[in-house]
Symmetry: C2
Subunit: 228 residues, 2 copies
């Protein structure tokens, strides 16, 4: 699959084809000659792996819109987690354009350390598709996956991962490790980062800001009681 | 907790104490002055983290017997997996001397990529204890955990991990990664490897030998039919 973009590279094409091609599908041509970029307000720090098939079939703007639309759904999942008092992280798993798995962080509610958003979405998708191999799927998650979740993504053979903001503390797709670039695994995951990054990041910051304010508020009456 | 063994080090004790101590509890003293060793027929390649509390309370041989006994239970779980045609890997999770979670590899049967033996045992133990924090627990597993399982072990705050044989292909406790020695995680796992290693390894080799023989057997009649 790697040789395809090379065949379409300008040096393989006659000059007149270049003109016609640029005229009729400048967006698509743009996607061939330039390295893949993140589709969000924040520039991707890295983008690698196999070329996105959607991007080859449609103009860049369409693929970007699609990524943003599914990330919006992941954000809605994250908001559902926040309403339960969980750290707001959400994920959706898309198979051939349809959502087959969705989930949000449920660690405190379920008392299960493995119920991260990605894990819930992967399990749901595997049950829906009747297979542990999640081929032709894209996982959208608001935060960079941890080692457990990235391990599960590789084990489930998810071909593509799109995430919002980085997790510099425990992220395993560029922060403390990068499993997507490790050839020792028998599966490579194509990664796009930074889709709706500021929204994803703001949701998390807002949650922790509120949490700190609540804790401060809880401490206040206690100190007042002590004064009496 | 790290300073405890140092307080018991011979240089902190007067000579007469050394004699009395050696006389009445030579096994225990042996466990203090010498670095921790694996309890199996195969020597541990590494053993680190916090000191084993069981080993401080009982003679080394008792701790070893206990580890071997629980690993036998993990092996029984692995055999149950083999009977279902799954790769034979088993795990038990022990809390204060009692098994609170057990599991075996169920990937093909459940069609869930996350149902590794360790994950099943962790989920069961968390449900049994009513908490995602698996404090005072030891996880016994027949094969070195992968990145997903080792990630879950760290997330669940499991303090001690005992495993049978190494997985040089995807093991994350010394083979391709060693998360137990990574200070960037907010939890350290004490690791003992090599407990009943030959039994664990033989179970896996035997399973794959049988699988290859079956596949060969399946191909035979087909080639015979072709000749007719």
């Amino acid at each position: 699959m790697f040789h395809r973009p090379q065949l379409c590279h300008p040096q393989w094409l006659p000059p007149h084809f270049l003109v016609v091609f640029t005229r009729f599908s400048c967006y698509q041509f743009h996607s061939i000659i330039r390295p893949r970029k993140a589709s969000s307000d924040r520039q991707a720090k890295h983008s690698h792996g196999l070329w996105n098939t959607t991007q080859k079939l449609f103009p860049v703007s369409f693929a970007d819109t699609q990524d943003r639309a599914f990330m919006q759904q992941a954000l809605a999942e994250a908001e559902a987690a926040a309403r339960l008092g969980e750290v707001p992280i959400g994920a959706v798993l898309v198979h051939q354009g349809a959502v087959v798995g969705r989930g949000y962080n449920l660690r405190e509610t379920s008392n299960d350390p493995t119920t991260h958003a990605e894990m819930v979405a992967i399990r749901q998708a595997a049950a829906a598709l009747g297979s542990w191999r999640l081929n032709d799927c894209t996982l959208y998650v608001t935060l960079e996956p941890c080692v457990m979740c990235m391990g599960a993504i590789i084990l489930a053979r998810v071909p593509r991962l799109v995430y919002g903001c980085r997790d510099p503390r425990v992220g395993a797709v560029g922060s403390i490790y990068d499993f997507s670039r490790d050839d020792r695994f028998n599966h490579r995951v194509e990664v796009t980062e930074g889709v709706l990054a500021s929204e994803c990041s703001e949701l998390l910051s807002g949650f922790f800001r509120l949490l700190r304010a609540r804790k401060k508020e809880e401490r206040k009456p206690l100190s007042g009681e002590g004064d009496q």
